[in-house]
Amino acid sequence: MNRKERRQHLREKKDSNIDVEKKEESNKRNFFQTIYEDQYKKLIFIPFFILLAAIIIIVINVAQTGDFVNKGYSLEGGISITVIADNVNIELIESTLHSSLPDAEINARELSEAGVSKGFIIESNMQDNGEAIINELEKLSPGLKGSDNISVTTMGSSLGDSFFKDAVIAIIIAFVFMSIVVFIIFKKASPSLAVILCAFSDIVVTIAAIDLFGIKLNTAGIAALLMLIGYSVDTDILLSTRVIKEKKGKVMTRIYRALKTGLTMNATTLVTVVIGLTLSQSTELSQIFLILLIGLIIDIINTWIQNVGILRMYLEKKSKQKNE
């Protein structure tokens, strides 16, 4: 057998394999597949319901606090003190600070790497409290003040405020730009809107989750929300390209193929995010990881239920129009 013949033979062999797979696919559908494939119009209400709930949560938050997120020290103005220490008694530190500075809003958090204590972080919304907090810490651990074991960051409230405004504008502009690009890529209204709705829903639901968990958003968190746009659109573009741009094969086969690729992408990102979240000692990085974790989980629902549903309805409508 020469090389050409051998290749031909191999190809035929593979083709027959594919046929077998296809048969198996259509015959052996499990319970979840049946629901996922047949009930997609009903399933689509799940992400819609989540989005609605998210909007309600955000509205409640605005009513209670005046803002759609709870701002951390770097957006509201305040102080953050990081101390390196081996033995941390975080309860003692927190109670000492609360009793000596009863008016201030003070949060203390232990820093650890894989369960080993490395130090602690104290955040307060009052910039002027810095000196007082450091003096209290000095009492607990003499020699700390001015040493290499302490880092202090302060953020003026005016800067925090203008940063927040800037960030909101940046997110809106990014969103608009992204929408324009998506329209240019797909050129059709429904698939493009599906991608944009998905990204919108990702951000809104993530913000609602942040509010619900009582997380205070910092500058890094804003960057994470923007990253979410990028990650969210990645899987949506993958899905829409496979489903709309390709013509061959069954729609469901194409969706499953995109799903397989997309979930692998999500899995690698989630693994990284979870590793980062368990180990990170930086408040900034921790917040980025946390927001990405929440956002990615929401994105899985939005892409593979909501976006898939919209695309299938769009294709159905198109084939109906063709038949008429």
């Binding site: 190809r11 390196i84 940063f163 960057a223 992408m265």
Partner: protein, 586 residues
């Protein structure tokens, strides 16, 4: 096909060659010098110090690896910072030491291709304690003076009466160098990772570019007076609302409140008699005495009834003739009064710093109507002990001197952010991030192995990930970016997006129905490329607004992300596709 021919084929592909070229370029840019890297790099050289006199200069904006590194003192090897300080401790006055330095270039792990050695002879200077005596002396001084009619500088001899001082040697003066362990690569660590002081100042009113430059110059100068050269002073803007203007000051390796206070002062200095301005800091002052002709008044430290001590300092300044005339005109009509046997004028000279009264000086009767250009400025410092009061007085004097010398800022400024970051915390962060990065790579590889069950997919993917990070770091050291936590987050995103794209490529390459459709490898890659480019463009446009937003606080993040995804799409991704194609061919 044997393994050797596969590797050969991979290496011959243009896209692989491009990747290799970029990796080599990054290696040149980063210049890892790990083994045999000894000595301490010079961070700053203090003005008028023994080191400065010997001809050692402060490094000016050079790449970290291009900095002068001290390798030996008197032929004794200096390995690290501890060695340096051990040696410095034992210096004696007038001792002559030879300092050998090296400027390295083109370093690769073990050695450097070019080593330029220089030997400096440094003579250790004595440290003086200067006390002013309660008497004056007449001295003659030769000073350069710009003669307008001759249009050149001529030396004139001046006879001035000045406070008599007593110099006392208290030990050997520091040779005037600040050093740090010799860097092992060209990567610049940001403040978060290196430790240091960062101050963000907001201008209280909107100014034009010229004024902005003046503000930046002024702050830079004031910091230079302290012998600090490893500083960044630059303008940053936000785009929301009023278009606020900010000045960012970053001082690496320095963790000092003194500096923060110095920057925070606008330094508008005015000397007034009643409500008329006599002279303004900067504009009207031609010379400010430092070292000699400046110091604490002898015996001026005294305790008050509450047991608090205060000390008086004094230093001389020279006024412009215009300011001297103004002074003469304003004092001409004042009355002479007698107090404790001394003749003074009935109005005093009031000194205002940022519109706050800082001192009030009695004006000697001899100044009445007399346009003298040499004036003594004095003030107080206080504290719980005599030593504390003396230190406070010296600090106040230094601040006044700096403000008088470098002039005042044209606009008011407000500190909106200050960070003092411990270097220890920085190195702890780096270790932490390295751990996360290594585990993330292992985690991602495991996911890939579980999904594809092919080592041939996992290996190129890991290689691509690593080379992406490496090229990004090379680019960062080439353009002199500071790698801070935000930039690291950006690298993370870029690599994460990269892995996503690699998965798309792998899935397109492995697709079975393409065999059926007889799609060539090129057509497969094209299909993957459409998704990749679409995702790339959306990421870019999403990051672009962030680059301009938020007073530059997240600029590093936006930049690294954009550079990272670009490197991925144009350099590493095509190479990955090529390697995968060859490896999966049977």
């Amino acid at each position: 096909m044997s393994r050797d021919t596969t590797i050969k084929k991979i290496l011959k592909k243009p896209r692989t060659i491009v990747l290799i070229i970029f990796i080599i370029l990054s290696l040149i840019a980063i210049q890892f010098h790990v083994i045999g890297n000894e000595g301490v790099a010079i961070r700053t050289v203090s003005k008028n110090s023994a080191a400065a006199i010997a001809g050692i200069t402060s490094p000016a904006g050079t790449q970290p690896m291009a900095r002068e590194v001290i390798v030996s003192f008197n032929n004794k090897k200096i390995i690290d910072e501890a060695d340096y300080y051990n040696f410095i401790e034992d210096l004696r006055i007038n001792q002559s030491i030879s300092i050998k330095t090296v400027k390295k270039n083109f370093c690769f792990v073990f050695a450097c291709l070019s080593n330029k050695y220089t030997t400096y002879r440094v003579k250790v200077l004595p440290e003086y304690k200067i006390t002013e005596l309660n008497e004056t002396e007449i001295i003659t001084k030769i000073e350069p003076f710009f003669n307008v009619t001759l249009n050149k500088t001529v030396n004139i001899t001046k006879t001035i009466e000045q406070q008599k001082t007593e110099k006392e040697i208290i030990g050997a003066a520091d040779i005037g160098l600040t050093v740090y362990d010799s860097p092992t690569n060209n990567l610049r660590k940001g403040l978060d990772l290196q430790g240091g002081t960062r101050v963000l100042l907001k201008l209280e009113e909107i100014v034009d570019q010229d004024t902005m430059d003046l503000v930046i110059d002024n702050i830079q100068q004031r910091l230079n007076v302290y012998g600090l050269t490893d500083i960044v002073v630059r303008e940053v803007r936000g785009f929301a609302g009023t278009g606020d203007q900010y000045v960012l000051v970053e001082i690496a390796g320095v963790n000092s409140e003194e500096i923060r206070d110095l920057i925070s002062q606008q330094g508008k200095f005015e000397a007034k008699i009643s409500d008329d301005i006599v002279f303004v800091g900067g504009r009207d002052i031609t010379y400010v005495a430092r070292g000699e002709g400046a110091g604490l008044d002898y015996g001026s430290c005294a305790a008050n009834t509450q047991g608090e001590y205060s000390c008086r300092f004094r230093f001389g300044i020279s006024l412009t003739p215009v300011a001297a005339q103004r002074q003469a005109a304003l004092t001409d009509n004042l009355q002479i009064i007698n107090e404790n046997g001394n003749d003074y004028l009935n109005e005093s000279l009031t000194l205002y710093l940022d519109d706050e009264l800082v001192d009030e000086l009695k004006i000697g009767s001899e100044l009445k109507g007399n346009p003298v250009t040499e004036i003594a400025i004095s003030g107080f410092g206080s504290g719980a002990t005599e030593a504390a009061a003396a230190t406070d007085a010296i600090n106040n004097m230094k601040r006044l001197q700096t403000i008088l010398q470098t002039g005042s800022l044209p606009v008011k400024i407000e500190i909106v952010k200050t960070d003092t970051i411990s270097p220890k915390l920085g190195s702890q962060f780096i270790k932490n991030i390295m751990l996360i990065a290594i585990l993330a790579i292992v985690g991602v590889s495991l996911v890939i192995l579980v999904r594809y069950r092919k080592i041939k997919v996992a290996i190129p993917l890991v290689i691509t990930m690593l080379s992406e990070v490496f090229i990004l770091l090379g680019f960062a050291s080439l353009v002199g970016w500071n790698l801070d936590i935000a930039a690291i987050a950006g690298i993370l995103i870029a690599v994460g997006t990269g892995v996503d794209d690699q998965i798309v490529i792998t899935d397109e390459t492995l697709r079975k129905d393409y065999n059926e459709m007889q799609l060539s490898w090129k057509q497969r890659f094209k299909k993957a490329l459409f998704i990749i480019i679409a995702a790339y463009v959306t990421t870019m446009v999403a990051m672009l607004p962030l680059y301009f937003a938020g007073a530059g606080l997240v600029k590093g993040f936006a930049l690294t992300t954009m550079a990272g995804v670009s490197i991925g799409v144009f350099i590493t991704r095509p190479a990955f596709g090529g390697i995968l194609q060859e490896l999966l061919k049977k």
